[in-house]
Symmetry: C2
């Protein structure tokens, strides 16, 4: 059982059938055609030699096929993770240098270790730190940065910058130096890719082509662009005239590599690896879950961590770079009919063949073509309408999203995502730090108690019953102290305060200290503190504490029993001296002594309720 959990391949491989094989193979062909240009492009985006992208698309796919739980997720280099890789490595070494390539291996290794350990420790919930607005703001901002960064390749100029503004200013300065041939190739590719993506499929369908063929041709557009621009560059020897090309790439399967074990470098890259891991995991899991749900399948987020972790470890030991599950390729894989992770393994074989045989042809591939591929791919990530929708729905969510976008664009990917996470946590704490609470009174003639501000209910001047509608924990512990003291100050004749705890699922140590403080402060002021409706598990814990012994009042089973006991000073069971309540027994004895007919009113027996407020 456990072996199957950690090796999901055992769940599908034994039942693998010829029919499944056919479908998986077809999906693999389509994904391979799409992945070749993308892997080259994303390696370039990460500042790495083009072949690294190919290497990262072989063994990692096999590793995920063994350890991953999604049947259709397409793993490999993706845009956002490549951008984060470039940002992390940019501080360490010069892009393209040997140290830089080595650092990419270390980053993949760290990312792999982090993901695997998180999976084994079942820490998938950490991804919850990233709220949807932060994620989508981050991806939109990343898309803009990536697109802006690629413009220089498209224009054939030199320009760089650490943020969007610097990048755009740098580009502006270089407008006079645009390299015409490069620009024409880039612009042509851009227009071609945009048109095919937008219109080709519909046009082919209109012409009566089968849906399958139309789809395949549309997906093949990038590789057609690669082939055509490479041929043109080679034929007209454009590389001699200054068109930047990918250059010669070693032909061969991914090499066996060993990431460096330098403590200083590991420390420098740790934070980046953590962020890359979490962002990659969130992206991957959300597409994986969406696709799995369409076929009523399920994926296991913690095993997904192990699957993605093993893919990154495989990348680290085979000359690769950080990888994760890509959105667009996974959707293509799903639509093409992939049935099992074997499709991923077949894709790996396809890329392996490409690395062996096609690399000599890639030498003349213009960098501008890859830049155009990247721009088209990432602009689909930019989602501006969601900014408006988020603003309309919730201003605090908008604030977190806006902070993420602004800091990412202005200061870089790492600080952007940290700013978003920090702000969304702060806003959440702010919201739960002031939980709804209400002074409640008795609905006349019943055992029900309601908010005095909303209902016409009975109250007694020496008794205040406060209901708190939230678990008590450190973020609202001090607010509770404040609220109780305020209520007591407002009601100067009060002798008894009852906290009605029906909505309290947890009392943590901070809230316990606050309850102790409240108890002591009320005692100093001559007021007795009682609790009512404490839930079983909460009471179990409270009983072990000093608070329970020091509590000046009682723990009542219900608000009504508190009402009856405290409004009947003549009741023999209610002693003047406060004693430690044996919480489960004492209130029970109260309960058994109070009249429990719902219609009965205690008015006649007790102190006359003085106000009956209404809204």
């Amino acid at each position: 059982m456990n072996v199957k959990r950690y090796l999901p391949i055992l769940q599908w491989l034994p039942h693998y059938q010829r029919d499944t094989l056919t479908r998986d193979l077809l999906a693999a062909v389509i994904v391979t055609i799409m992945l070749i240009p993308q892997s080259l492009a994303y390696a370039m985006l990460a500042g790495l030699p083009a072949e690294v992208g190919l290497y990262a698309s072989v063994l990692p796919l096999v590793a995920y096929a063994i350890f991953g739980t999604s049947r259709t997720l397409a793993v490999g280099p993706v845009a956002v993770v490549s951008l984060m890789t470039a940002a992390a490595l940019g501080n360490i070494a010069t892009p393209g240098s040997a140290e830089y390539v080595g650092a990419a291996l270390v980053l993949a290794l760290l990312s792999g270790l982090i993901l695997t350990l998180m999976g084994l420790a079942r820490l998938g919930f950490l991804a919850n730190f990233l709220s949807h607005p932060v994620i989508s703001g981050f991806i939109t901002a990343s898309g803009l940065i990536i697109a802006a960064g690629q413009l220089r390749h498209l224009l054939g100029v030199e320009a760089s910058g650490h943020n969007l503004v610097e990048l755009l200013i740098g580009l502006g300065r270089e407008v006079g130096n645009i390299h015409l041939a490069t620009f024409l190739i880039g612009l042509g590719t851009l227009v071609f890719l945009y048109s095919t993506r937008r219109w080709l499929k519909g046009a082919l369908l209109n012409l009566g082509a089968p849906a399958m063929v139309a789809d395949l041709l549309t997906k093949a557009a990038p590789i057609v662009a690669v082939a055509v621009t490479t041929l043109v560059t080679w034929g007209f020897q454009l590389d001699q005239q200054g068109v930047a090309v990918v250059g010669s790439i070693p032909a061969g399967l991914p090499p066996i590599s060993l990431p460096g074990f330098e403590v200083g470098l590991w420390q420098e890259l740790l934070m980046a690896a953590l962020l890359i891991s979490i962002v990659g995991f969130v992206e991957s899991v959300s597409v994986g879950q969406t696709l799995a749900a369409k076929r009523r399948q399920r994926i296991d987020p913690n095993q997904e961590l192990i699957g993605l972790g093993s893919a990154n470890l495989a990348a680290a030991f085979s000359g690769g770079m950080p990888v994760t599950g890509g959105f667009s390729r996974s959707v293509v894989n799903f639509d093409a009919g992939a049935q099992t992770p074997a499709a991923g393994a077949f894709t790996a074989v396809g890329i392996g063949v490409a690395a062996l045989l096609l690399t000599p042809l890639i030498a003349y591939l213009p960098v501008a073509t890859l830049a155009a591929t990247i721009i088209i791919a990432v602009l689909s990530l930019v989602d501006l309408p969601i900014i408006v929708r988020t603003w309309r729905y919730s201003h605090s969510d908008f604030a977190a999203m806006f902070a993420t976008i602004a800091v990412t664009l202005g200061n870089g990917v790492e600080s952007g995502i940290l700013a978003g996470v920090g702000l969304s946590l702060a806003l959440h704490l702010y919201r739960t730090s002031r939980p709804h609470s209400a002074v409640i009174g008795r609905v006349p003639g019943s055992e029900h108690f309601r908010n005095v501000e909303r209902y016409s209910v009975e109250t007694v001047p020496f008794l205040c019953i406060l209901r708190v509608d939230e678990s008590l924990y450190f973020a609202n512990a001090r607010y509770l102290e404040d609220t109780v003291m305020e209520v007591v100050t407002r009601q100067p004749d009060v002798k008894h305060v009852v906290l009605a705890c029906q909505a309290v699922n947890v009392i943590d140590a901070s809230a316990l200290e606050s309850l102790e403080t409240i108890n002591h402060r009320l005692q100093d002021a001559g007021v007795t503190l009682h609790l009512a409706e404490v839930k079983g598990p909460v009471m179990d814990r409270l009983q072990t504490t000093a608070f329970c012994k020091e509590l000046t009042g009682f723990v009542f089973l219900s608000t009504y029993s508190a009402w009856v006991a405290l409004t009947q000073p003549s009741n023999a069971l209610y002693p003047e001296q406060a004693i430690c309540p044996q919480a489960t027994s004492l209130p029970l004895s109260f309960e058994s002594n109070v009249p429990n007919s719902p219609g009965l009113t205690v008015k006649g027996v007790t102190a006359e309720p003085v106000h009956t407020r209404s809204l």
Copy 2:
């Protein structure tokens, strides 16, 4: 009104009376006697010249008297903040150097600005980030570090270290070099202070001394120790024999100082200033609130931020160091009968006189005496039993406390407090990320619905009603997706899922996206999603969203109306095609069409409930 809020002095000064004056003056005398040695000692602890401690005890006290809301809080240098000051400045300059003293002014200035701005922006809730276990763990660890750090002054040896282990190893190496005279002075002071603190008051009371006198004499013990050891050192010229003394201090009132405006230094100190501000604020507010409650007074936390902020600004411009409200001195001030913040202003006058007249006498004060004063003061902060109590009460709170103590002792104060805050947030998110939820069924013959695992209730195989007992926000949004999909997978015949939202106070943008995702996934699987019991404010927001239009099912006013509508396929009002529910109107029309007698069972009319589960 607003002027009075920001200038609390206007609330008490106009009514100031002779009787109050007498009490405030007496309290001020006692606190002054206590504060003179403490201010010198805490300046030393912060690595600053002794006179800085005196300067920080004059104008800041006056500023707090004007802007603070606590009537009895005694502001000035305190142990933990001084330790944090030393930790922050240690990276910037050599202790005691002119840069170091200048950096302390900048730290006070930043801390003053942060506190004041937080107060004006009403950000007092940020202190909620610090849970009680983190605070008490931090203070215990700080106390141990401070005490260990002072041992070298007590022994007259050189030893330093960045954490407790290094400190103790350093001290161990120096055991052979102990300076006998210094050690005797230090040990003597330690024993004297400990004995007087422990036994003097009781002994005096037994001898028939009035309580007032006994108390005053006990409080005066540190200043007696200072006087006696200074005299002994001066008389025997012990400073010539290697006993470290405070040395000559300029006599005079606090100088006017201008903190440097160097951007780099500000950036370096910003984080430290933020932590010092928050820790100081939390400490100060908790003692202030406790004392205020004893007299049924209240303090305003946001105005307290302004009060403490102005005190730190005053320190920055009068040659001081970061200050806050001290625990022990405030209690003494309260017990001595201080009635208004004027007591603090009188204390400032006392310290001013001391700075003018007494400084020449302090030159022969042995450093070991101050070290003994500090050790006695901080050891009362070390609270080991609370560690055990926290472990017993809550393992997750213990984890946060333990992380704080371990990292503070092992790696320093700043990383210690950050580790504690980070871990307590993570554990809180972990807890709320898996809220309680239950599949509910109908209590036979009623309109009530209960957990199918706990009660014997009716269910229908094509209908699943899920109740979630928590607000929906980013931390549990994905868990909700998981839970719904799991429930649907377990119940293969399900056609309708109803989310019962009576416990949902908020749906944030992340949870909204998750609801959209759930809606789409269920749609792909041929299942309709409905909501029930959505609260008014939540519904108001949902109605503006695309989700409400895309929802495949309806929003029902109550779970019961959902049950009736969905188990009655013959009901004409229930269309086959899902349409956008006009949330407030449609369910109402349902409501008006379903039988609402509580006793009625729909069994006869509708599909037969198939299981009636019981626990």
